[in-house]
């Protein structure tokens, strides 16, 4: 009985010792490498923060309205963003190199997946960013336009525009990532068709009266303005 237990323990300990013999050297090297990359990342971040002013880029972000999207009062500075991105990139590279030292099936697969997925992730991120920017830009334009045209519920029009554009961006990003592309595309088609169908039904059933009333009120307002037609010139 004791003999059996000893054999089992020896087997387990032997296994652990073998694993340690196999994994400890790459682990030590990996930790060392990661530490080196960490120091390099900190140095690069410090250097970028000091060396890059990014005033032109800041101005560009402001002019394009991206600053306001990224921060509430639009106080976005490019330098810390770039330095932060460089820091995390270097850390990621260090981590991947460290993982690859283990040379196991699992780590190899992890490294490969990350390397292959990274460009897609970046592309999808950019698509989402562009989508958010476009959604914001269009929704604001729609908001101001519907308000100035005295259309009903301007904020709803703006929100609908935003949701629509963001949804398209999500569909495009999921296509790039290969993440349930059919589901998102199908959802997009269903939502789009549903909206058209709902609008048609609304127009056909009760909405026609509402639209007529609205058009009549617009016409009446126009006639009012015709009555007011005067010498009032704003310029």
């Amino acid at each position: 009985m004791i003999r059996t237990l000893e054999q089992l323990l020896e087997g387990v300990v032997g296994g652990i010792v073998t694993q340690l013999n196999n994994l400890l050297p790459p682990l030590i090297v990996a930790v060392f490498l990661f530490a080196v990359f960490f120091v390099a990342a900190v140095l690069v971040r410090w250097f970028l923060t000091k060396a890059v002013k990014g005033a032109r880029m800041d101005r560009f972000l402001k002019e394009m309205g991206l600053s306001n999207m990224l921060a509430d009062r639009g106080d976005v500075h490019t330098t810390p963003l770039v330095a932060g991105a460089a820091f995390w990139m270097i850390l990621l590279v260090g981590a991947l190199i460290g993982l690859s030292l283990f040379n196991t099936q699992l780590t190899t697969r992890m490294v490969e997946a990350t390397v292959f997925l990274f460009p897609k992730l970046v592309t999808a991120g950019l698509i989402m960013l562009a989508g958010a920017w476009l959604a914001q830009f269009l929704s604001r334009s729609v908001l101001v336009w519907t308000h100035n045209e005295e259309l009903p519920a301007p904020r709803r029009w703006a929100a609908a525009t935003k949701v629509m554009v963001m949804f398209i961006a999500v569909v495009a990003a999921s296509e790039v990532l290969g993440f349930a592309p059919h589901v998102f595309f199908a959802a997009f088609v269903i939502v789009g068709s549903g909206a058209v169908l709902a609008a048609s039904l609304a127009m056909g059933l009760g909405g026609r009266d509402a639209v007529r009333r609205y058009l009549e009120s617009r016409e009446a307002a126009k006639l009012d303005r015709e009555d007011e037609k005067s010498l009032w010139n704003h310029l």
């Binding site: 309205g65 830009f137 101001v144 308000h147 100035n148 010498l231 009032w232 010139n233 704003h234």
Partner: protein
């Protein structure tokens, strides 16, 4: 006839810019216009009339121009050019076919000299600015000594207007003659609440009607306009008037005003294109502010511009405004557009606007001068730095502007013309007083320095003194 200009006049030293006939500017002219210019070769005075579907009124304007040239400038070669935006109501035909039989009416001893009347459709972006561009190109090619532009919907224009707009250029050595009219207290509200106070405060010249639409210009100024490359911006549309005035004032051209009497024009829907109009005008003002920031930064106060013409009082047609509609637009704007205004207005300004909208009542509505000036300055600063959303931002001013007009209507309901003028003068002084605040936020100084002023400087309320 105008006389008595101070002599000798010290005309600003200008490099005379020769405009080559094969530049890009000239190439954008219609071929038929170029051909006619080649045939006529020279004109001393060019009268330009932009138009779009103005057949009802343009005949009167053309007759006045013709009579003005014949009566006041008989020894000069004059030409009337109509720059049309593709009218469907026969405007060009009215221009070329209006009979001129006013010799006896004008008590002229000699028969009226024929004046060439031309009408061409302009090319490019549809708008008043594009129409002016073609007129300026033709005037420059014809080597005109003076060019005058007048609106085509004017009912109150007389031959004297041309004397008043041209003679300061031909004999007074002025480069730019702005109009000075009697207008109803509610007329020209963009002028009174934004453009006049802001232009005056920035560039230090009190040109009362900077976007009046009827101007006289010298050849050097004309060539300066033509050599610029921003014709295809909002300048092509309603931004043209303030663009012309600002360039003249900011670049040191010699400017003056001429009193033209009443400005009465064809009736129109006051709400039509308001937000586009407001956006185009403010966009031009704000972009020029950026261009001339080093010019206006150092200027303080303002001085009256020379005013010519015999001043007299005239009766004005009543103007109806719908106060409730304006207030509703303001209130609804505060409800709907808060997210957009947040981009331009500072938190305290936005909070004040929202509070005002929440408590707005037609009887005692009051949008304070200081708040209004801060709104304009803060929008100007945001428009400077937000290229892509500038148009949307500036269109969102419409409800704020209507709120300001509503406040002005409430305040001036019982006032006469002189009191109203005094009220506008007070606003102008507020713009001048808060100019340091504009400089702080425009040039991105510290938030503490950019804090809105809490009190007004006392005692600066002096109504404008005019030379007549």
């Amino acid at each position: 006839m105008l006389t008595g200009f101070p002599r000798p006049l010290q005309r600003r030293k200008l490099v005379k810019v020769a405009v080559p006939k094969n530049t890009k500017q000239i190439q954008s002219m219609p071929a038929e216009a170029r051909q006619v210019v080649d045939e006529i070769r020279h004109a001393d005075i060019v009268v330009g009339i932009p138009s779009y579907n103005n057949s009802k009124t343009i005949g009167h304007v053309v007759r006045a121009a013709h009579a003005g040239l014949a009566k006041y400038f008989p020894s000069y070669n004059g030409i009337i050019i109509n720059s049309d935006g593709g009218s469907k109501d026969g405007t060009p035909e009215v221009v070329t076919q209006t009979p001129m039989q006013d010799s006896q009416l004008l008590l002229l001893n000699t028969p009226m000299k024929p004046v060439n009347r031309l009408s061409f459709p302009y090319h490019g972006i549809p708008g008043k600015g594009s129409a002016f561009r073609m007129i300026f190109q033709m005037a420059s090619m014809l080597d005109a000594k003076a060019c005058v532009v007048v609106d085509s919907d004017l009912r109150s224009i007389t031959p004297e207007w041309f004397d008043l707009l041209i003679r300061p250029v031909l004999e007074g050595g002025f480069d730019f003659v702005a109009p000075y009219y009697h207008r109803h207290k509610y007329d020209g509200t963009i002028t009174n609440s934004i453009v006049y106070p802001l232009t005056r405060c920035l560039y230090g010249q009190r040109l009362r009607q900077p976007i009046g639409g009827d101007f006289g210009m010298s050849q050097p100024l004309l060539n300066r306009y033509l050599e610029r490359d921003d014709w295809e911006t909002d300048v092509a549309r309603f931004g043209i008037d303030i663009w012309m005035t600002t360039i003249a004032v900011a670049e040191g051209f010699k400017v003056c005003q001429s009193f033209l009497g009443a400005k009465l024009h064809d009736a129109k829907d006051p709400g039509a294109d308001l937000s586009a109009m407001l956006q185009q005008v403010t966009s031009s003002v704000f972009l020029l502010m950026r261009e001339y920031e080093n010019t206006w930064r150092g200027r303080t106060g303002s001085e009256p511009a020379a005013l010519f013409g015999f001043r007299y009082d005239v009766g004005l047609d009543p103007i109806n405004v719908n106060l409730d509609r304006m207030l509703t637009a303001f209130r609804k704007g505060a409800e709907d557009l808060g997210d957009v205004w947040k981009l331009a207005l500072r938190p305290d300004t936005l909070a004040e606007v929202k509070e005002l909208a929440r408590t707005a009542k037609p009887g005692d509505f009051h949008l304070d001068d200081e708040l209004w000036v801060r709104i304009v300055y803060e929008f100007a600063c945001t428009a400077k730095s937000s290229r892509l959303e500038r148009a949307t931002l500036l269109k969102s001013i419409t409800p704020l502007y209507l709120g300001r007009v509503a406040s002005f209507v409430v305040e001036t309901a019982e006032m006469g013309a002189a009191e109203v003028e005094h009220r506008i003068e007070r606003l102008c002084l507020k713009f001048e007083e808060l100019k340091p605040y504009l400089i702080n936020i425009w040039f991105g100084e510290t938030p503490a320095a950019a804090a809105p002023p809490q009190s007004s400087a006392p005692g600066a309320e002096q109504p404008e003194q005019m030379e007549v």
